[in-house]
């Protein structure tokens, strides 16, 4: 998580995995399958889709933002709920305010809202085969 604390970050540049091209080759082999499997999504596809939704991925900028929000929010909630309870002389008010703020925070931060996915990773273009040969 060291990179998350680095404030001055350049746009992230990564190389795509080398085996992307190979995947294409594998997908062509699916033509041998019976026709009805093509009409609806396969079980594996559904599984990966469900996993994606359950995982709720957010980008690096979003992760940084979430960590900051959680820290500030929880500190403020602790202090505020103490003050509220002390002023009203009631522990019920303290823990009511505290638990309410925790619920609000979870709603704000746990689902992968669009605001946390505004800075998707910029992939570099694939190096073409000819360039590779040239570098050799």
């Amino acid at each position: 998580m060291v990179w998350a604390q680095n404030k001055q970050r350049e746009p992230r540049q990564c190389y795509k995995k080398q085996n992307v091209g190979e995947e294409d080759d594998i997908s062509t082999n699916h033509n041998n399958l019976p026709p009805f499997t093509l009409a609806m999504p396969s079980l594996d596809e559904l599984k990966s889709k469900a996993n994606e939704i359950l995982e709720g991925k957010i980008d690096f900028e979003g992760q940084n933002k979430v960590e900051y929000i959680v820290r500030i929010w929880m500190t403020a909630a602790t202090i505020l709920s103490f003050v509220i309870g002390f002023a009203l002389q009631s522990l019920k008010a303290t823990f009511g305010a505290f638990s309410l703020s925790v619920i609000l925070l979870s709603v704000l931060v746990v689902p992968p809202w669009g605001a946390y996915n505004r800075h998707p990773v910029q992939w570099l273009p694939l190096k073409s085969q000819t360039e590779k040969e040239k570098s050799k």
Binding site: V70, F86, F98
Partner: protein, 177 residues
Amino acid sequence: MHSIYSRINNISGILSTCLMVLLLGISLSSFVFTADPKGSLEISSIQVSPGKARRYHNKNQDFAFVQFNVSADLTPLFNWNTKQLFLYVGAEYTDNKGVRNEVVIWDKIVRRKEDADINIQGRNKYAFRELSSTFRKAPPAHYTLKYNVMPYVGILTYGEAARTIEPVAFPESRDLS
């Protein structure tokens, strides 16, 4: 922080720290409240009678019967961190051998602030006996009303709300029946 689970994990981690800090703050806040209410305690009657304890059938011993009036406004003891008060009336005397005795003869639990202004005519709830089985040589005793403040979070605190002005002597033992 990239997935839902790691975000929940992060929140719950900080939540436990914040909760501990909050509880610590609440327990420390009890020291801000330094109410020390005073009331009055009078012994209206005291009698000593010989009898047999249920536990020791073949031993004659003296039983003291104490009636008292207690009045104290203990509402200042209730703050946001007070769960309940434990009140108790005790007899204090130092016997001839120099042993300090403190015998609790009555108690009461106050759960609500509305019930904390007490004005009670009571008598001893618990059998009041002397260790030497007789009160004949026991010196006059002071009676006190003490309280124990039980907080929701934090430490128990004790205090004395009332005390008899003069020590009350034990009368001669006589058969009441």
